[in-house]
Amino acid sequence: MTTTATQPVARAAGPGSAARRRARRGDLLVRYAFIAPAALYMIAFFGYPILKNVVMSFQDYDFATFFNGKAPFVGLANYTATFSDPIFLRALGNTGLFTIGSIIGQFVIGMALALYFRKKFPLSGFLRSLLLLPWLLPMIVSAAVWRWILEQDNGALNRFLEGVGLISDPIPWLVSSSTALVAVIIVNIWLGIPFNVVLLYSGLQSIPDELYEAGQLDGATGWKSFWHITLPMLRPVVSVVLLLGVIYTIKVLDLIIGLTGGGPANATQTLATRSYEMSFIEFDFGQGAALSNILILIALAFSLVYLRANARAAKNG
């Protein structure tokens, strides 16, 4: 009975006649038919684009290509051009700062909120679901709203800071190259908090209360119980949250384009925005492809670490 659970009827029929063999082949075809649409879609919308990007990155593929169809192969020229471009190094550094800053902020605040909402109090579930809201809004909507909040002269943030006397002159959040990256990171932290809260909260829920009670008897309360009970128990979830956070953050594009467009003076340019700019503003699809291939490699590296961590979490969980 257990064998039929995983391999239904077809196997049980045995070798038998030609008719039966045909029936079995038909059955196999039907099974593949369930997968075929998805497989074809994945090939067309993931397989092909990735392959095409690799090929394009070795071609001189620009706007003229759309008219004359010529895209001569140029070897590694796109890559050497990319690596010697000062904006690339800037974008690479910004991607690193943007990712690390966002992850730390999201995680620390997300963890604090998750711990807070673990307490039992009236309306806790309702408030927790309200927290999800920023995560569900289209990113470009959040960008528009924050642009208005961070506006230099009339934005709510400067008005608030001036009102409580923290600053005397309005801060040019998005238009000064020294603050723009910080501002963009702050907004991205805000966007990422709900995701962190949801995952960390569900991780916290699976830690048995008896552990805390036992810890209490040994004098582990407050910070001590957090360091010695919560964090170790939460480790698989934490690694999944952090890695997914990195994977999502390095490809963020809408938010930055909506807030600053990569400016001022490339202060908020990242690999993703630069790749977009190369392809769709400068119409150098070859170099845009080279850039996005570098981005794929970075994303893929983290993805593989993530898949391993996730598999381990699944095994332990």
Binding site: A5, T6, Q7, P8, R31, F34, I35, A38, Y41, M42, F45, F46, Y48, P49, I50, K52, N53, Y61, F66, K120, F121, P122, L123, S124, L127, L131, L132, L133, P134, W135, L136, L137, P138, M139, I140, V141, A144, V145, W146, W148, N154, W190, V198, G203, Q205, S206, D209, V240, V241, L244, K251, L253, I257, A272, Y276, F280, S292, N293, L300, G317
Partner: protein, 292 residues
Amino acid sequence: MSTATTATTGGPIAPAPAPTPRRPRPGRAWIHTVIGIVLVAIMLFPVYWMVNASLAPAGNSLNTQWLPLNPDFSGYSRAIADQGQNLITSLIVAIGACVLSVAIAAPCAYALAQFRIRGTAVLLFVVLISQMIPGIVIANALYTVYTPLGLINSIPGLILADASQGIPFAILIMRAYLETFETSIVEAARVDGCGHVRAFWSIVLPVSKNSLITAGIFSFLFAWSDFLMALTLTTGETIRPVTLGLYTYIGTNDTDWSAVMSTAVLSSLPAVILMIIAQKYVAAGATGGAVK
């Protein structure tokens, strides 16, 4: 029987939220509620500010008041006049991508979870990895094939491109559910001579309604929120989703913030409505998408 199947097919992590019995302290509990409300209020301030600014009088929004004491709806009438068509485009594209995602993902998820045929492990790995591919990579390549195919500036083109987020996500969500799905009813039906397609259509789909709804909601939201595909795969004003409409709105020189914020509110409505009517599905999708 049932124990045997669940033992073999039982899913990996289903983050089972164990109820946590805590000693109730009524007095302090309300203080926690108050602090909780303050924390949520701080987090949601930008959302409040969006609604508040959308109600400010047009042209005069340079000094938005802290409270919308004299709500003015002219921002909304301008937003609907300027962006109404774009909102409809978004709606068509999002519904299309949602239907396409679920239609393609559901049979695949069922096959991945229940059929032991060759290639499923590879496909599953590809689906997992595909979620991590930056959208700009897809957009880059699609632009070059969409142009000769005439799919630039077209609704089908956007639906197909937007489903690139919905399909992998929907496959994973539904597969996670179907892995733990009780196979005995399907087997019983199969023994009675019911074909795979019929078993899927009349048994599996109705039973997995919840995971279908979760997958559908998220596929809709992904497509509704899409900006990158709209930005790269449309060039004119004829086919323009509202996300792109909002973006070009911010860029205009004399930005009328009350109209911009009214558009932002209108573009947020689907998310808010879905959250209210389908709260449990949204939470399920949020956790299910990340930990499998």
